[in-house]
Symmetry: C2
C-alpha cells in the first residue's frame, strides 16, 4: 500500500481525539437574570472581553469584515451591541494572516464591541451542497453552488470563489483562523447538511461533526488565552433522536455556549418544532445562539423557546432591495414603490438616527430610483436600528410579561 | 405660411428681451476681506440665506441630490461648507415638482447649508455635443452622447436618458426649475460649446447665450424673493475677443456673481490662459465661480488668478476607483494597489474624521478587493475632507503670503 493510499484510508477512518474536560472561560460570563413563567423566555447578561450585552440580542452580519455599506459609527448610532464576520469569506480575502498582522478583527474593522466569527462550515456546506437550508436561512444560493469538492474525515475541500484555488478547511484550521482573527465568540467546525439527504447521511455527518467538535476543542485549548469563548453546535437535521444525541454531546463538552445549527427543515413550522424540541435538552446555563435565523416573527417565537442570540443577513440585505422595516403594518415597506414618491414622512421619527428621522420617504424613494447608494445606506442603517429596537422591546416585554402584546404591535394579528 | 412655419421662423429669430437694470440681492453679500499683493488672489466672505462661507472655497457635486454614497452628516463631519446639485439630472428624476412639494432641495436632501444649482445647460450641451469640454472638466462622456436633439433660439431639445422622452430646456424653464428647487445660488441658461467648432459657431452661440442670459434675468426677476442669487456666465470659448465681449456683457447685467464657463480649450495651458485673460475683465466686486474645475493643481493656479469658488466631481468620483488624495507625494494613492495590503497606517491621521484617522489602509484595501461599498464611502469622505483642508490652508496661505510654499507641500516641486 503506497503512501497516498495509506493517507486516503487514514482520512476516511474516524479521527478520534479526547476533548478537554474543562476550559477556563474566566474572561467571559453568562448570567441569567430573569426567567419568564409562561414560556422558556429568559433575560441574560453575556460578558466578553469587549463588553457586556443584554440577551436576547441580535448579531449583525459583517460577512467580509464590513456590514454592507455601513461604518462602525453607523452601527453604534443604531445602538448595535454585537456583530459577526464570516470565516469562510475572510480566509479567502484578505486571509487570516492579514487580519492577524492588523492586530485582529476588532482593530481591522474598528469595531470595539463584542464580536463573533462562525467556523466557515456553513458557507462551505450549505452553499456547496446547494440545499434547502440556505433558503430557510435566507442565504443567497447563486454564489458558490457546487463549490464543495469533497468531505473527508479530515475536513472539507472546496473551490475558492475568488480564484478557483482548491482550499481545505479542517476543525484545526478553522479554530486556528478564528483564533488569529480574535473574535470574542468562535465556533466549532461542523457540517451543515442539506434538507434532501437520507437519515443515514445526516447521522454519519452528525457523528463526524461531533468528532470535528472534539478536535475543535483540542485545538482551541492549545491556544486558549481567555480572550475567546467556543460554542458547540447541535446538529442532527430534522431527526428528533439525532438532535437528542447532539444536545447531549454538546452538554458533555466544555463549550461556553451552544448553537442550534444544521438543517432546520423545509418550513417555518418544522423549524420551530426542531428548536422547540432541542431547547429543553440543551445545557440550561449556557447562552444559546440560533444560527442564521432572525426574521421578526422568528425572534418572537424563538425567544419564547429560550433562544438568547440571533443572527441573520436580512436587515441589511433587504435594504439593498428597498425594503425598510416597520413596527406594525406589513412589517416592512418597499421604498421604491410609487406611493412613496411624494411621501414627506420619515421612515420612523421615533428612532433617533438621522436615516430614520430626518430624511423623507420621498427623498429615499428618489435615491433608489436614481441609483444613488446613499439610499441603501440609509435604509440599511434604519433596519439595523429597527432590529435593535425590536430586541430592546423584546427584553423589556419578557420582563413585564407583555411579549404577546408586543408581538401584536410589531406583526399585527 | 402655415402656423408651423411661422412658429419655426419665430423660433430661429433672435428673441430679445430687456434685462432688468438692477436686482435686489439683500439676502446675499460678498465682501472681499483681503487682497494678495503679488497675484490677483483674494479672500472673501459669501453670505447666503443658508449661511456664510469663506472664499476661496470648493463646491461639492451632489449631482442627483446626493453626494455619491455620503450623507449630509458625512459632509458636515468633513467640514464641507457648500454643495451643488445638477438641474439636468433632477429635472429628469425626481422632477422639480417633487422637490418643490418636499419644500425645496435643502429640505429634500437635508443639507441646511449654502447650495448651488447649475442651469442644466452644461450636461445637455457638453454631453450632447460630445466635445472636449467634458474631458477637460473630467466629465463622463459615455452617457448621453448625442442626446442633444437640437438647439433653437428658444432653447435646447434633448432626449431623456431616463425614458427616451424628448425634453426641452429654455432659459425660462431653467430658471423656473431652479427657483422651485430653491438653491441659494442659481445660474443663467447658456450653451457650452465644444472645442472642435468654428469661431463662427462659438460667436453665434455666445450671442444666443447672452440673449438666454437676458431672458434668464427677466424670468428670475419675476419670481425673485430675495432667497436666491443669479450668476451670469462668461462664454466665448477659446477666443479672446469673444471672451472680452462676454465679460462686458456679464458686467453690464445685474448678476450677483460671475462664472467662467463654455469651452476652456484643449489643454491645461490653454485653460489657464483663458481664465487668466478673463479675470481682469470680470466684474471685480462679484464672486467668481469656475465651472467644473477643481484638481488640486488647478485650485492653486486659479486662486492666484482670483477665482473664488470651484466645483468638480473628481473628489468623490476618483474615490470609487480607489484613489485617495494625499497632501504631498504623488497627490493621491490608489488604495487597491498591492503595497497597501498590510499597510497599518491610516489614510491621514491628521484629519479628524474616522475615515481618514481610524481605519488602516490595509482594511480599506481589503474593502475594495472584497467589493465592499464601505471602501468607497470611506475614501470619498476622506477626499472631501482633504479638499476642504486644502481650501482652508489655501485661504490661510493667501493671507500669509505663503501660497507658493503651500503649493510645494501639496504638489511637490
Amino acid at each position: 500500500m503506497g503512501r497516498r493510499d495509506r493517507l486516503k484510508r487514514k482520512l476516511n477512518q474516524p479521527i478520534v481525539v479526547e476533548a478537554p474536560k474543562t476550559l477556563d472561560y474566566s474572561g467571559f460570563k453568562f448570567e441569567i437574570t430573569f426567567r419568564d413563567t409562561k414560556s422558556r423566555a429568559r433575560l441574560g447578561r453575556l460578558t466578553t472581553p469587549h463588553g457586556t450585552i443584554e440577551t436576547p440580542n441580535y448579531i449583525f452580519c459583517g460577512t467580509k469584515a464590513s456590514i454592507k455599506n455601513l461604518s462602525p459609527q453607523h452601527m453604534r448610532d443604531a445602538k448595535t451591541d454585537i456583530i459577526l464576520a464570516n470565516t469562510y469569506h475572510l480566509m479567502i480575502q484578505p486571509g487570516p494572516e492579514v487580519i492577524e498582522r492588523a492586530g485582529g478583527l476588532h482593530k481591522f474593522m474598528q469595531w470595539h464591541g463584542p464580536m463573533m466569527t462562525d467556523s466557515g462550515g456553513f458557507q462551505i456546506f450549505a452553499m456547496g451542497h446547494g440545499g434547502v437550508a440556505d433558503e430557510i436561512k435566507g442565504r443567497n444560493r447563486n454564489t458558490n453552488t457546487r463549490s464543495l469538492m469533497g468531505i473527508t474525515e479530515e475536513g472539507a475541500k472546496f473551490k475558492s470563489y475568488w480564484n478557483g484555488d482548491t482550499l481545505k478547511l479542517t476543525p484545526e484550521a478553522s479554530i486556528d483562523i478564528q483564533r488569529r482573527m480574535g473574535a470574542d465568540i468562535i465556533y466549532q467546525f461542523d457540517e451543515c447538511t442539506p434538507y434532501h439527504v437520507e437519515r443515514d447521511y445526516t447521522a454519519t455527518a452528525m457523528e463526524r461533526s461531533h468528532r470535528w467538535g472534539d478536535r475543535s476543542l483540542v485545538e482551541f485549548e492549545k491556544g486558549h488565552n481567555g480572550r475567546q469563548a467556543l460554542y458547540g453546535i447541535v446538529s442532527g437535521g430534522i431527526y428528533d433522536d439525532l438532535r437528542t444525541i447532539s444536545c447531549d454531546w454538546t452538554k458533555d463538552r466544555p463549550f461556553f455556549g451552544t448553537a442550534i445549527g444544521d438543517c432546520l427543515g423545509g418550513s417555518t413550522e418544522e423549524f420551530y418544532e426542531i428548536v422547540g424540541k432541542c431547547m429543553p435538552q440543551i445545557h440550561p446555563d449556557r447562552p444559546v445562539h440560533l444560527l442564521g435565523i432572525g426574521a421578526i416573527r422568528d425572534v418572537f417565537s424563538c425567544v419564547r423557546m429560550g433562544i438568547d442570540t440571533f443572527d441573520c443577513v436580512s436587515p441589511t440585505r433587504i435594504a439593498r432591495h428597498g425594503w425598510a422595516l416597520t413596527r406594525g403594518g406589513e412589517g416592512r415597506i418597499n421604498i421604491r414603490n410609487a406611493p412613496f414618491r411624494d411621501d414627506q414622512e420619515p421612515l420612523d421619527p421615533s428612532l433617533d438616527i438621522s436615516a430614520s428621522r430626518d430624511f423623507s420617504r420621498s427623498y429615499i424613494h428618489h435615491l433608489f430610483k436614481a441609483g444613488e447608494l446613499l439610499g441603501t445606506q440609509l435604509v440599511a442603517q434604519h433596519n439595523v436600528a429597527m432590529i435593535n429596537r425590536l430586541l430592546r422591546e423584546v427584553r423589556a416585554a419578557v420582563k413585564n410579561g407583555t411579549l404577546d402584546a408586543l408581538e401584536k404591535e410589531w406583526l399585527g394579528g
